[in-house]
Amino acid sequence: MSQGAKPVRRRAAGQWAVAWRRFRKNKSGLAGVAIVGAFLILALYGIFAAPYPARSFACLYQGCTNLPPFVNWAHPLGTEPSGIDVWSEIAHGASGDLYVGVTATLISVIIGIVVGAIAGYRGGAAGALLLGLTQVFFVIPILVVILLFAKIFLFLVAAGLGLNLIVFALAIFGWPVIAFIARGEILRIRELEFVQASQALGASNTRILFRHIVPNMLSPIIVIASLAIAGNILTEVVISFLGFGDPSASTWGLLLDDGFQYVRSSWWVSFFPGIAVVLCVLGFNLLGDGLSDALNPRLRE
């Protein structure tokens, strides 16, 4: 090898590298990443640097209640008649809502993959049971049942469960969709040649399942997960807005509930948190659409 020319080792581009190359060209997908990133920063700002603590009525004692937005730069988005600073509370809400949306989705993805993998790979009674169960979950009026669940177990919120009660409820009703998709993917993948090859080589079922099949079924699940985060945030907003959430934890829904109470006097209390919800959910939706384009080349021209 001649001097200076280092041996260039080019690894064959893996499926993720190819997907990233495709995703990089997708403007709306990149916009989704940027928006989601901005909200992550906002959530961190809310946790560490927001001017007021969560659900703090401090402005009441400083005599600056019911301020309109863009008037006093100590309160850029105005204050509620009760003395809550809207900007600070939106930042706290970002951490609350992202926590609920992401955690609930993660839990339902993990449960969904495990259940879907077992049902799809083993088939038989487990598969049939899972299919029946997903049918039930498709029919359940989920929002109503979640509201019911949240109301009946509201005492657990005060007992220290807090927002985790909603996380739990969303996860319980979220995993069947993932399981359904996972099962379909497994039925498809287990017939592919490389799986049969490793079977022929004597690999154990667990190894085939978790080394070969699960990594290959991740791409549709990642897409669904991104859209599920958006959906979970929207549901969380409805739950807190209706007063079925944790009344002491900051969420956008709770702030919108305040806004609705002051709808006649202070439009900004419901306007700005709503914009935050729309942008954040939009970010995850754009991200999901972009991932779907990048990970499913079949859909492209």
């Binding site: 929002l143 009946i152 209706l242 709503g274 729309v278």
Partner: protein
Amino acid sequence: MASLLSYLVRRILFAIPVFLTVSVITFLITNAVIDPVAIVRLGIKNATPQQIAALKAYFHVDQPVYIRYFYWLSDFVRGDLGRSLYTGTVAQKVLPWIWTTLELQIPALLLSLGIGIPVGIYSAKHQYSKGDVAVTTTAIFGVSMPTFWLGIMLIILFALDLRWLPAFGALSISPPYIGGNIITDALAHAFLPIVVLTFVSLASIVRLVRANMLDALRQDYVLAARASGVPESRVTYRHALKNAITPVITVVGLSFGTLLGGAPALETTFSWPGLGYEFVQAANNLDLPIIIAITMIITIMVLIANIGTDVVYAYMDPRVRL
């Protein structure tokens, strides 16, 4: 015809275990984990002895849980929905709410289909044109928006600020009615919530129609039809649309659940006395018989809508065997 009938019977038989499972879940949530009487005591301060007695009778609390469930189920199936913990029987109260909810949902559904399908077709036919970009941008904002928040914004603008339309309720409480009679009054009250519901479901219908149309227009049979000289409008509306529309029907049918159950927040912002609003009220008052009745009624309506969707689907798509 005979095959359609047997298909219907099979679908209805299949719906029964689904219904039973939902009923068990609802019953267990409201019942088994904690004593329902204790739930009411926790939630309703100063629960009256009559309320406690009514609840004990409704749930047959002196029995073990599984027996309670069968008593409750047999009451429910025979149409005995029990009495509200406050006033009146559940059946008397719930029936008008169904109607009030449908008064919003059916016009919104028809409008969003009527507008959404042509707009989706236009968008797919003119992919990446300015019009398409405007439509897809609006649509993705529409699906990212909490329905009730759009409602609040419209209330602020059109009801509180401009004072063009009423903000709350389904009818003026007393005359004078808006526009002079009760019909224009009802229309004025329904206008804003219908606009909100239409916009939000329109967004998802447009996205769906567009995606399916794009897919259909790329298929070989479309190419073949064009090549053999079929006029473009006929290719679009007969060949492509016919195949693109079936998934739309499925999704609209399946969304019937969110349609009925998904409106609690919107109905609450407009104080619209439908199933969703009353569900929230009943949940806040822990009126368990009403809560259970609404949950089960929505489930039954979803099941009926699903069966209807499948039948329409089978009718439209000859590949689906009955």
